[in-house]
Symmetry: C2
Subunit: 217 residues, 2 copies
Amino acid sequence: MIASYKSADREFKAGQDLFSLGEPCDSIYNLLEGWVILYNLLEDGRRQILHFALPGAVLGFHPGGGAMMTFGAQALTDIVVSTIPRKALPPIVKQQPEFGLRLAWLIARDCTLAYDRLTSIGRHSARERVAHLLLKLFVRYRAQWPGSHIEEMHLPLTQEDIGDATGLTFVHVNRVLRDLRKDRILEFHYRRLRILDPDKLVDVAGLDPQLVMSWIR
Amino acid sequence: MIASYKSADREFKAGQDLFSLGEPCDSIYNLLEGWVILYNLLEDGRRQILHFALPGAVLGFHPGGGAMMTFGAQALTDIVVSTIPRKALPPIVKQQPEFGLRLAWLIARDCTLAYDRLTSIGRHSARERVAHLLLKLFVRYRAQWPGSHIEEMHLPLTQEDIGDATGLTFVHVNRVLRDLRKDRILEFHYRRLRILDPDKLVDVAGLDPQLVMSWIR
DNA sequence: CGTCAGTTTGATCGTTGTCAATCAAAGTGG
DNA sequence: CCACTTTGATTGACAACGATCAAACTGACG
């Protein structure tokens, strides 16, 4: 487990940045507790959320040695991370060769998630995008407590966050959420998400029910 | 170098799939020559291009051990790849620990590119998206021949491909290309891209000129 | 010469963005 | 405990960007 290599634990308050655009970033982080977003800011203030990181994620590895980060990372909740200095990686890998492969695998998983979102934003309607995002977050969250059958969760997001993740405005996100509520598919009020009709949600999200079932195991 | 671990070279003709959605994919590929796209297909036939892979890229590593691929890979030109069986990875890594780290780094680079495209598709106008895509492809292509100063290249894409990569319809891509031509920024006709005004292009793409310069080195 | 893939243009429609106003909830300091 | 502020949610009117539909055109290739 990557956790066993931790050199120093650190805590961040909700809203704090782990690193920002243009910073060098000499450490990588292993998220132990809480939610983190990776995001990009445009000059005019608009924002694109790139990734929602949950416990177990590795953050800050991305760019090549010593280069600047091309995106920022912000704690969405209070979080706990363990840090590994970039320089410590080669010795760790030398001692524990599987570490490198595991790291590659974790990043590949993030990459696959990014490809998913790309498809969602590029080719789906607003309704599909919002449904897809919420469903995926719900499934990933629930995967942390295997066997649980709760269809309700605390999602530490505003409607603006959902918009920034799906490439929509918060105004339109609000309309989409109203419609999904009207259709009795899900409710999202004040950071509480409740799935009313999982099957319909999977359908609206444009996902294969069998595929979704395979994630839940 | 990853190339030194190749076990067997293989060639594909333009249009052939290296692997498709839902296949197991027991090998990873190192692209030696040519262009490859990673793409996703929707039920209704629409397509999202996720990534353009150039020589040096690693393909097919993405999903976890033995799982199905969630996207396909298609040769855009005739290509040459070297294949490495998935099972060969642990022994390779044991013998050459840096290999794992280098693999992780390559995938992290793909991930960063995906994040770029996410921002582009999620928050930019059609004009910006097309400009961004063409500029990035041009820069990545030229990075293969350092020192070159040609502002023209063979881009093996149709306008439909550009649309599928940027989340637009080919009709609208056509209109955007017409405008870019009218503004004497670039020309793209029958798979030939010519940059007329690099500075304006960087501007339209919404990128930092200094950042772009740093890529060219 | 005919066919086919890809490009080009026009007309029209609709989804989503923009602008603006109101409302609800939560926090703050007197 | 109550003004006051702030952040986030909600709704309506309107505009615009890009999609859709349809048709013609071009170049490549047999």
